[in-house]
Symmetry: C2
């Protein structure tokens, strides 16, 4: 219609409705009854707004208001169900609580994490949730300098409240499951190998502790070479296992579904001995139950984690000690 594609503003609507911009504004933001605007005018304005395809300019609105209602979240990757579910549920919960969620994916890149965090703060986010951040304390420091609350999810930080899985306990349970199944099905009692993750990463360290603790409880010693923290990459896990030929029984504790991809690739290419392999994985995938050799997976409790995180929003004196959320262990039948 118009030659200029300028966005409609309340001033345009005001002219069309023969009213003042402030009346239009109060009609559109729902405060019109409080401000004693007649129903008649309100309806007229709403009708015109609809006709014109009006959408508030949030920039202008937020500039004037005190609250932005934006909660930001950074997430490393969408290549596994865990972070995907976190992002999805975060958005749902945030909307239900009247927030506007903005999620951004930072590719496990510390620089990008920090840039994205700054960007979200520039958008006046009231709270920033750093999920699985490589350097959460750097982000927390920047947030606190800007007077913005920050919360760590999945990986803990020292300078902000953290909600994380109880990695130690779940890893111990998973180790127990794999060892038990190796005994029952292969008549063999370990030690298992630990595949994937980074030792510098808190979660990997905690899981390795649980893994070791269960071995210790059974008086099984684990050779150093059995700990293969190959990072978060399928290829590296497959390469690390490459030379391993299971002429004897073999058990694997797989840390993350991305490493599981590599393990399964290795497994499927075995010439022989596959029936002597058992593994379990920390993290869940719907296809996991159907992978041969997989005895079980750990599912982290995203709903509870996010509930706890949302409870922390606005809480000035939140605990600095990480809040631990129990995981669910899902045992599978082995597919022969």
């Amino acid at each position: 219609m118009e030659k200029v594609t300028k966005r409609t503003t309340i001033y345009d609507l005001a002219e069309l409705a023969d009213a003042s911009p402030s009346a239009v504004s109060s009609v559109l933001n729902g405060t019109w009854e409080k401000r004693r605007i007649s129903k008649k005018l309100a309806e007229r304005v709403l009708k015109i707004a609809e006709e014109q395809g009006y959408a508030v300019n949030v920039q202008a609105s937020l500039l004037r208001r005190e609250r932005s209602n934006i909660v930001g979240m950074i997430v490393p990757k969408y290549d596994n169900r865990y972070f995907g579910e976190i992002a999805e549920q975060f958005e749902v919960m945030a909307r239900a609580k009247g927030f506007f969620p903005v999620v951004t994916c930072t590719q496990r890149d510390p620089e990008l994490e920090f840039e994205a965090a700054k960007e979200l703060i520039s958008y006046q986010a009231e709270c920033l949730i750093s999920t699985g951040a490589t350097d959460p304390d750097r982000i927390s420091a920047f947030c606190s300098a800007s007077g913005v609350q920050s919360i760590n999810l999945d990986l803990p930080g020292k300078d902000a409240p953290s909600v994380i899985s109880d990695n130690y306990s779940a890893a111990k349970e998973l180790t127990k499951l794999i060892l038990n199944r190796c005994e029952e099905e292969l008549g063999w009692s370990g030690p298992l190998r630990f595949v994937g993750g980074r030792l510098a990463d808190h979660n990997t360290a905690a899981r390795l502790e649980g893994f070791m603790s269960e071995h210790r409880d059974r008086s099984i010693s684990v050779p150093d070479s059995y700990v293969m923290a190959t990072g978060y990459s399928a290829e590296k896990a497959a390469i690390a296992l490459g030379s391993l030929t299971p002429d004897r029984p073999t058990g694997l504790f797989v840390n993350s579904t991305i490493s599981l991809e590599g393990v399964v690739k290795w497994y499927s290419e075995l010439q022989s001995g596959a029936e002597k392999v058992r593994y379990g994985c920390f993290d869940w995938d719907p296809f996991g139950a159907f992978l041969p050799g997989n005895v079980g997976m750990v599912e982290q409790d995203v709903t509870i984690m996010l509930n706890k995180a949302f409870e922390l929003i606005g809480d000035a004196d939140a605990p600095t000690e990480p809040i631990l959320v129990p995981c669910r262990l899902r045992p599978f039948h082995v597919i022969a």
Copy 2:
């Protein structure tokens, strides 16, 4: 430090640096050389800004500027690799082109899709990409009323340029692969069953056409009951297959990885006859290659699709005919 946790503004910095807000502004947004601010003052301001943990108020900045640089995207779910990859790559590409990406996940809910689209426009998004939207034309209509460009991805719409996979050809290729493998390995020549998706959905319709066309080429007739478009749900697919016992050879064309979950569940619970089942899936998952009975998957080319979509941004006379992007067929060895 301060008792009030007010965000630092250029006015605060101006006072600290003993300069004017406009000088501070131009230093911070990089126009200071053009505005002939001395290097000395610029460095002083930058130092103070850093000390104070200053972050621009994008709301104010965008209000004043003409461009927002925001590109919005709505995505249905993060429960499969396809949409996860789309979201990730979209963010990377958008940043590389100097945009600020905002992605939001709308749970396949038409109302939420529309609300989210409105919200993104309120944030002055310059372009909105609707991915897999249930009702893309409603979104396009609103966008065009607001003078915002909209682009459809994955599912086409009539009122905005669309970039979609060549569903027909890829489905035909996949059907061909499954039928061939059934012949080679089972000595059986179909017809296959079509499992998952919604017939009302453009992609499902196009894939079904490709499926039918390949059957027609081979003079195989497909009974109506063999088309089981059970929607995007693992349970419904599993239930639909529930009564099917493969006493004879059985071949399945699985439409979407979410339906594949149900198929694999059914498959793994078969008492007998599993060796007589072959299936293939439209959409890719890294664990797919390791699922027994799976002869191949179709991987949609996210990178090319997004490249095409980005080419459309800012293009006023973009074609209204959908742009078709070829898919990659990934054949697998069957795991016995």
